[in-house]
Structures are given as structure tokens and as C-alpha cells.
């Protein structure tokens, strides 16, 4: 189902970037709200709760886009017509750049103190 969506049409091949965009907005919005309510004063798992929550989002997103990448690669490998092959290739490349962008945008969560 997810595989067909991901490599079947014009919207689906962008799934990696769509997930990445949602992830970006989520990080930004959650951080802003967390700071608004001064949640950075609360601790969890040895760090402040905003950092922990954002880190969880980073890791989940990485795992999901990683899975998408594998789906696209697998479809590409087994495709027997050029049209599917092309769509799977683009979908896989989109996932690749989404992965890199997810790591880069996630990096500050682990390095920067939130809220100032």
C-alpha cells in the first residue's frame, strides 16, 4: 500500500520530502510552544524535556524515511518497466535527500540549548 503510494504517482514520489516538511514544521512549532510555556525548566532522561521530545521526533522521522528509502530501492531493483523504474528512482533519490536534510535539521536539537 505504502509502496504503491510512494512509487505510483506524482504526489507519492515526493513522500520523503512531504514527511520532512511536516517534521520541520513540527520541530519548529513544538520548540516555540515549549519555550512559550517555559517547559525547558522541566527535566526528563537527564536533559530538559524539550530537547528529549524533539530528539524523539528526529529519531522517529529518520526511521520512517529510512524505511521509505528501502521501499523505493526495492521497487527500483525489481521494476521491469522503465516508467516504474524512473518513478522509483526519483522517489528513492527524494528519500535520500530527505534523509540528509532530516539529519542536518535534527543536529541542532542535540547541540543547542533551547529557548535562548
Amino acid at each position: 500500500m505504502l509502496r504503491r503510494l510512494h512509487t505510483g504517482g506524482l504526489i507519492g514520489i515526493n513522500l520523503g520530502l512531504i514527511v520532512w516538511s511536516a517534521y520541520f514544521v513540527l520541530l519548529y512549532a513544538l520548540m516555540s510552544l515549549g519555550c512559550r510555556y517555559a517547559l525547558d525548566a522541566m527535566q526528563a532522561l537527564g536533559s530538559n524535556i524539550i530537547t528529549v521530545a524533539l530528539a524523539a521526533i528526529v529519531i522517529t522521522t529518520l526511521a520512517f524515511i529510512g524505511y521509505l528509502t528501502w521501499l523505493a530501492y526495492d521497487t527500483w531493483r525489481h521494476a521491469d518497466d522503465n516508467r516504474t523504474r524512473f518513478r522509483a528512482a526519483v522517489a528513492g533519490l527524494v528519500d535520500g535527500i530527505s534523509l540528509v536534510s532530516t539529519v542536518w535539521v535534527g543536529a541542532p536539537v542535540f547541540m543547542v540549548t533551547p529557548c535562548y
Binding site: 515526493n14 520530502l17 520541520f24 516508467r83 527524494v94 536534510s101 536539537v109 543547542v112
Partner: protein, 829 residues
């Protein structure tokens, strides 16, 4: 009769069918994409020249310290109008105009699928530009900077109408950009040549597909921001006013959510042109087609997540700034892929060096340099130093002039034979290039240093004590060299119309379909539409162009006397329908004139004029819509090569339905901007959020209202035929009015006075937004009932009800989302 004779008599008939009526009246009725595209390009170029001259006055004023060529007010007007003109009246209309002109030729269509919309878009653009520039006549020229920050441009600090000229003029032009985007998407996805599947699409079409989506989603936030600012200025709804709980940063967010994609909206079409030009001169297909497609898609998405890198100094937490820094670095990858794909194409090809290639190299140097300073300013601590200085001015000119103007000039020279049927001279063209290239770099390279030395942008003078005199003087000298270069370019372009050598066929030996079109292009592009089985059909099948000209393929039968092009499937380009296109009509011009009076009415506070104009616009558009479709039952059309296809209006995926869906997508972005406004205000509001305490009492009428709205959608979905349609649509109309009344009561309890606070203002604006959509839905409802009553709707002809239903559901979804936000969310919080 020989084949060649058949071809030429076909041409005569096509000339008649696709020709404009004679005289100046005919010109005002033109809807054909070739003519409309040319008008966009020429108008855009004129605005480019005007804005360039404004810049020259500025450069003269700051050439030396303490100069007194213009006063501070004039200087502020100059940079405001320079930026505004270049961004809104030159760059975007120019690239869209190019696309309107080229896309049908490249993908093997005879025209765009909504020619009248294209014409309407052109008139909106022209009138919007004239409206903005008419501010000179009233001595009320905008002077608040091209990004119009508040509170500087609120009534308190800008009491005259200059800001209104800006807001209304720019919004008017944006109507044009958005309508062009809708038209491009529908055409690229629905009217490609048979067999042109996605992977065989010319790259420029990929680029424009993504760019058009970016315009569709990216422009509405600024439209909404402008509406809110205009509401604040005219009726005092305090969205951006700190004293009433509003926030000036809301404007910056809305502006840059538009403004950053805008940069790529300007760059990507230019990159698309390069992706067509470079393979031609490398004499091979592009290296890494999939990689380039990936880059375009990735740039499209990532560019929407960069907006706050224009806001590093406003005081956002460093972690938020870092998200935008990282995303700004991520967008380097797709740009890098494109650059290296072009270089690899040249490397592995057999390159020849013609005039367009000069500009390609000008692009390489300038754009890469601008991209690298872009990486620098993406790093927040660095940007804190150079933000709002001449370093940023230099950077943005490297990116925009390098990324857009150099490719554009390459494109001018490359596609000129399509316009004029002639080839320009080499000597003057080369001289012009070198003047432009050197002039540009002499102007803007030292300007980086000026910024480092501490010169803020937008200062009209400076002293001898700060040490900026030399770099500024050099920049000014460079500016005049650049101007001379532009002058030479204009001379070259003008002269070649007279002295240029005749261009025969595929001048550069290119491989894509636009080179199968005559030089200069005919109105109908192709005598017949040929099948495509390759990304460069003219290379793989050298006989294709000739056979298309002789009418050996699809749609060579002109007996119906109608303008026709092929409607094909989105992914694979399989022929599905014959799209019947409208003939010349004055309706686009008339409705654009009325639209102009709507804006003029607001500007001059003659609200009765605005109301009358909007009514007149609606009536014109209803006439326009009435002429769509067929007044007689549809018959299958012989499309040639033994293929019989239905006319578009009898199919379930007619372009009109796509147009409606795309309009709703842009509409959703507009509505999303309003929702963003609500939640943003909530997030920055000093406690407590005013809804607490009032939401509960209003919940009952509001819930009933939402239920009525949802029920109307259900009825619209069910009632489809005959009398049931009339009964159902009437009931749905009544339910939507029930919604309006009940919701009005609910809001009157929650926020009796819209001007009281930003909160009340946003509530009533959301109500107004949904109410406007309901009014439009009701008009469509009546329109469909009228057609049903006249018998123009039957089992085959379902386009109008489909369009109406789609819009109705869209309206209801927005109404429900409003309910969820204003009432349910407020209740939960």
C-alpha cells in the same frame, strides 16, 4: 494532391481558425498563448529597464559621501520601487510569460488549456503594474522598502495612501501570477504530446511544474498578509498592532513564507532554461535526468522551510534559527547537483560555443559566487553581522542577477528565432555580454566589502569618517558599465529584427519539440501533433518535424473549425480527449478592467465603486463560464490516425476540473495563512487567551451552524440528477445561509467588536473568508441549476456540476476547520 500541398492548405485553414480578428480590436481579444506570452515578456522587460534606471539614480546618490542628487524621501522611494518592480513586475511575470510562451511548444500542445485565463492574467499584471506606478502621479510613491515591514507601514507611521498603492498593486499582480500557475500546471499535466510520459518530459516542463506549484502555495501567504494589513489600515483591524495583542512579526512570517520560495520561483525557471540550452550546445541529452528532477522537487519543498533565515536578528531562539540554518545548507545539495549535471553534460558532450553559452558561463560564475555567499548568510552568527548591510545587497544581486538574468539573456538569444524568425548578430551580442558581465561584477563584488565595513542598506548618504567612499564609487562606476551593457543588448535585440539573418528550422540543432514549430512561431504551433517516444524526439526521429508539418499525425482534421489540442493522461501521456479551446474574446479584458476598478475603489475609499466592480467582474465571469462546454450533446471526434476521442467537457477529468482543484489548492494555502495567523496570535498572546470564558456560550449556535454546513455538503454529494438536483441544491443553499446566520450570532457573543483586538479581528476575518466562499458557492449553485433547467446538463455533460461540487466541498471543509479552530480549539485550551 501531394503531401506538401495538403500541408500548406491545412496551414491556411489553421491560420484562419487560430488567427485573431483584424485591427486593434482584434488585438484586445487575443487569447493565444504565443501572443499572451510575448506580451508578458515585453512588458516585463520594460519594467526591468525602468527599475534599472531607478537603481542608477540610487547609485549616483551614494557614489560619494554627502551627495545631494536626490533627497531622503526620493531615495527611499527609489529603493522601494526598484525592489518591488524587479521582484513583482519583472522577475515573476517574466519567467511565467516565458513559460506560457514556451511550454505548449515544448510539450506538443497547440495552446494552453485555459487561454482566456492567460489573457486575463496578462491584463491583471499590466493594470496592477500601472496602478502601482500611478502612485507617481499622486506623489504617493511607496517608500517603506519592498518587504513593507510593519509598524513602519501601518497608518500611524505611513498615513498617506502610498502603502495602499503598494498592497493593492502587488496583490493585483499576484492574481496574475497565481492564474498563470494554475494554467501551467493543468497544461503540463494534461496536454502533453501522445507518448510523452513523465520521464520524457523536457526538463523545463518539470521545472515549471514545480515552480507553478510553488507559486500556487507560496503567493497566498503574502496575499493574506496584504489583505490583513489593508484591513488594518482601512478599517482598523489590529492584526499587527502590539497594543491590541497583534504582532509585527506576524507580517514578517507571512511575508517571508512567501518571500523565500519566491527566490526559487525566480531561479528555478531560469535553471530550467539552462537545462534546455546546455544539452543543445553540448549536443547530447542532459547527464542525470532523474537527478535533476530530484533537485527540482527537493528545492521546491526545502525552499518553503527557509523563511526565517531572513529573520535571524529579530530575536528568535538560537535553536529555531539553527533549524533554518540547517535547512538552508540542505538546499545547497540540489543546487550542486544541477551545477554538476550541467558541467558533466558539457564535459561528456561535443560542446559548441555560441552566444547563449557566453551567458551560461556568466551564470556559472555569478550564481555559484552568490550561492556561496548564500551559504555564509545561512550561518546565523555570520548573518548577525552582515544582515541588512550592503553585503546582503551584493549577495541577493549575485543570486538573482546571476541566477535569473544571465540565464534569461541566454534564453533571449536561444529562443529569439521563435519570436522574430531571425538570428541576432554575434559581434554586438558579445560586446553586450562583456559589458554586462564586467559591469555587474564591478558593481557588486566590492559591495560585499562595503557591507563588511559596516554600511547598512537603505541609507541615502554617509560621511567621510566611515571609510565607504572608495568601494561605493567603484560600485557606481560598475553600475554605469552594466547599464551600457543593457543598452547594447537592447540595441542588439531591436536591430536584429531588421538586420538579422533568416532563421531556418532547428537553428541550433536542438532536440525538443519547440524546434519543430515555425520561425517565427505560428499561432497553432503544430499542423498536427506527433507521437513522442524519447526525451529529444527531433534527435531520435529527424523526420518528425516534417511529418508534423505535413499534417500526418493527430488533429490534422480542421473540418470542425474549432481550436483543438490533445488531452492526454498525466503519467504516461496517453491520448484521452480532445480539448476544445476558446476563440478570441474581449471577456478577459473586460473582467480585468472591472477588477482594476475594484482595486481603485478601495484605494480611493469609494467602496460603492468596489462593490459595483466586483459584481460586474462576477457577471463577466459567469458569461465566460456559460460559454464553456457545449450547448449540444457531445459527439466523438476523429483525432486522426484512426483515433476517436470524446471532447474534454464530456470526460470525468476535463481540464476545468483540474483548474478548480488547483484553485482550491491555492485557496487552501490562503486559508492556511489565516489559520496560521490565528494560531500564531494565540501562541504569542499575553495570558489569558480571550476565547476562554466566551467560547462556551457560543458553542451551541456554532455547532448547529457547522452541522448545517456539513449537511449541505452531504446533500450536494447525493443530489445529482433532474428534479432532485434542483431540490438538493436549493436545500444546500438554504443550509449554507443558516450557517451564516448562526455563526454570526456565535461570533457576536465571543467578539462583539472586530476592531477591539487582534483576536476579534482574526475571528471576524475567518468568518468573512468562509462567507465569501459561500457566496461564490451559491453563485455556482445557481449557475448549475440554470444550465440544468436549460437542458445543458446530461449524463455526458457533467463538468459544471462536478466543478460546483468540488468547490462546495472545499468551502465546507474550510468552514468546518474554522469551527474547529474558533470554537473547539478555544474550548479545549
Amino acid at each position: 494532391m501531394t503531401n506538401a500541398d495538403a500541408g500548406s492548405s491545412l496551414r491556411e485553414r489553421l491560420d484562419v481558425i487560430w488567427g485573431a480578428p483584424p485591427g486593434w480590436r482584434g488585438r484586445l481579444q487575443v487569447v493565444n498563448h504565443t501572443a499572451v506570452g510575448q506580451r508578458f515578456i515585453i512588458t516585463g522587460f520594460v519594467f526591468f529597464l525602468i527599475a534599472g534606471l531607478l537603481a542608477m539614480v540610487m547609485r549616483a546618490q551614494i557614489a560619494i559621501p554627502g551627495a545631494n542628487i536626490v533627497d531622503h524621501e526620493t531615495y527611499n522611494r527609489l529603493f522601494t520601487m526598484h525592489g518591488t518592480t524587479m521582484m513583482f513586475l519583472f522577475a515573476v511575470p517574466m519567467v511565467e510569460g516565458f513559460a506560457l510562451y514556451l511550454i505548449p511548444k515544448m510539450i506538443g500542445a497547440r495552446d494552453l488549456v485555459f487561454p482566456r485565463l492567460g489573457a486575463y492574467g496578462y491584463w491583471c499584471y499590466l493594470f496592477g503594474g500601472l496602478l502601482l506606478y500611478s502612485s507617481f502621479l499622486f506623489d504617493m510613491v511607496p517608500a517603506g522598502g519592498w518587504f513593507m515591514y510593519v509598524p513602519l507601514n501601518d497608518k500611524e507611521f505611513a498615513p498617506d495612501s502610498s502603502v495602499d498603492f503598494w498592497l493593492l498593486g502587488v496583490t493585483f499582480v499576484e492574481i496574475s501570477s497565481i492564474s498563470g500557475a494554475i494554467e501551467l500546471i493543468a497544461t503540463i499535466l494534461r496536454a502533453r504530446a501522445p507518448g510523452m510520459s513523465l520521464r520524457r518530459m523536457p526538463l523545463f516542463a518539470w521545472y515549471m511544474l514545480v515552480v507553478a506549484f510553488m507559486i500556487l502555495i507560496g503567493f497566498p501567504p503574502l496575499v493574506m498578509g496584504s489583505i490583513l494589513l489593508e484591513l488594518q489600515r482601512t478599517v482598523g483591524l489590529p492584526f499587527y498592532d502590539t497594543a491590541a495583542g497583534g504582532n509585527p512579526l506576524l507580517w514578517q512570517h507571512l511575508f517571508w513564507i512567501f518571500g523565500h520560495p519566491e527566490v526559487y520561483i525566480i531561479f528555478l525557471p531560469a535553471a530550467g532554461m539552462l537545462s534546455m540550452i546546455i544539452p543543445t550546445f553540448a549536443r547530447r541529452a542532459i547527464v542525470g535526468y532523474s537527478w535533476v528532477v530530484l533537485s527540482v522537487l527537493a528545492t521546491g519543498f526545502i525552499s518553503f522551510m527557509l523563511w526565517a533565515h531572513h529573520m535571524y536578528t529579530v530575536g528568535l531562539p538560537y535553536l529555531s534559527q539553527s533549524f533554518f540554518s540547517a535547512a538552508s545548507l540542505a538546499v545547497v545539495i540540489p543546487s550542486g547537483i544541477q551545477i554538476f549535471s550541467w558541467i558533466a553534460t558539457l564535459w561528456t558532450g561535443r560542446p559548441k560555443f555560441e552566444v547563449p553559452m557566453l551567458y551560461v558561463f556568466g551564470f556559472f560564475f555569478t550564481f555559484v559566487a552568490g550561492g556561496l555567499t548564500g551559504v555564509m548568510v545561512a550561518i546565523a552568527p555570520f548573518d548577525w553581522q552582515v544582515h541588512d548591510t550592503h553585503f546582503v545587497v551584493a549577495h541577493l544581486h549575485y543570486v538573482l542577477f546571476g541566477g535569473m538574468v544571465f540565464p534569461l539573456f541566454a534564453a533571449f538569444y536561444y529562443w529569439l528565432p521563435k519570436f522574430s524568425g531571425r538570428v541576432p548578430s554575434k559581434l554586438l551580442a558579445r560586446a553586450a555580454f562583456w559589458l554586462i558581465f564586467l559591469g555587474f561584477n564591478i558593481t557588486f563584488l566590492p559591495m560585499h566589502l562595503t557591507g563588511f565595513l559596516g554600511m547598512p542598506r537603505r541609507v541615502y548618504t554617509y560621511g567621510w569618517d566611515v571609510g565607504w567612499e572608495w568601494t561605493n564609487l567603484i560600485s557606481t562606476v560598475g553600475g554605469f558599465v552594466l547599464t551600457a551593457g543593457i543598452g547594447a543588448l537592447v540595441a542588439d535585440l531591436v536591430l536584429h529584427f531588421r538586420y538579422g539573418r533568416r532563421a531556418e528550422g532547428d537553428v541550433w540543432g536542438a532536440g525538443t519539440l519547440e524546434w519543430a514549430v515555425d520561425n517565427p512561431a505560428t499561432n497553432y504551433n503544430f499542423v498536427s501533433i506527433g507521437p513522442v517516444d524519447d526525451s529529444h524526439p527531433l534527435w531520435s526521429k529527424p523526420e518528425l518535424a516534417g511529418r508534423m508539418h505535413r499534417g500526418e499525425y493527430y488533429l490534422a482534421d480542421t473540418s470542425s473549425g474549432q481550436r483543438e489540442t490533445l488531452g492526454t493522461s498525466t503519467l504516461d501521456g496517453e491520448p484521452q480527449q480532445v480539448i476544445i479551446l476558446p476563440k478570441p474574446t474581449p471577456l478577459p479584458l473586460i473582467s480585468a478592467v472591472f477588477t482594476a476598478f475594484f482595486f481603485i475603489g478601495i484605494l480611493s475609499s469609494l467602496y460603492w465603486l468596489s462593490a459595483a466592480s466586483i459584481a460586474a467582474t462576477v457577471i463577466t465571469m459567469l458569461i465566460w463560464a456559460w460559454q464553456n462546454g457545449s450547448l449540444t450533446p457531445p459527439k466523438l471526434i476523429d483525432a486522426g490516425l484512426g483515433l476517436r476521442l470524446p471532447p474534454h467537457y464530456s470526460t470525468p477529468n476535463a481540464p476545468g476540473l483540474w483548474g478548480t482543484g488547483l484553485t482550491l489548492a491555492g485557496d487552501a494555502s490562503l486559508f492556511g495563512s489565516l489559520l496560521f495567523t490565528y494560531y500564531y496570535l494565540w501562541a504569542v498572546w499575553p495570558e489569558p487567551w480571550p476565547a476562554s470564558g466566551t467560547a462556551e456560550t457560543a458553542l451551541l449556535p456554532a455547532s448547529l451552524a457547522a452541522a448545517a454546513l456539513a449537511a449541505s455538503s452531504l446533500i450536494v454529494a447525493i443530489a445529482r440528477r433532474g428534479v432532485l438536483l434542483h431540490i438538493g441544491l436549493t436545500a444546500a443553499a438554504l443550509l449554507s445561509v443558516v450557517y451564516l446566520v448562526l455563526e454570526y450570532q456565535a461570533l457576536s457573543q465571543m467578539a462583539p467588536k472586530p476592531t477591539e483586538s487582534a483576536y476579534s479581528a482574526v475571528l471576524w476575518t475567518m468568518y468573512g473568508f468562509v462567507a465569501t466562499h459561500i457566496v461564490i458557492s451559491l453563485l455556482m449553485n445557481g449557475f448549475v441549476q440554470a444550465r440544468q433547467w436549460r437542458g445543458y446538463i446530461d449524463a455526458q455533460r457533467q463538468l459544471e456540476p462536478r466543478v460546483m461540487r468540488l468547490f462546495w466541498h472545499g468551502t465546507v471543509i474550510m468552514g468546518i476547520a474554522t469551527y474547529a479552530t474558533i470554537h473547539l480549539f478555544a474550548e479545549v485550551i
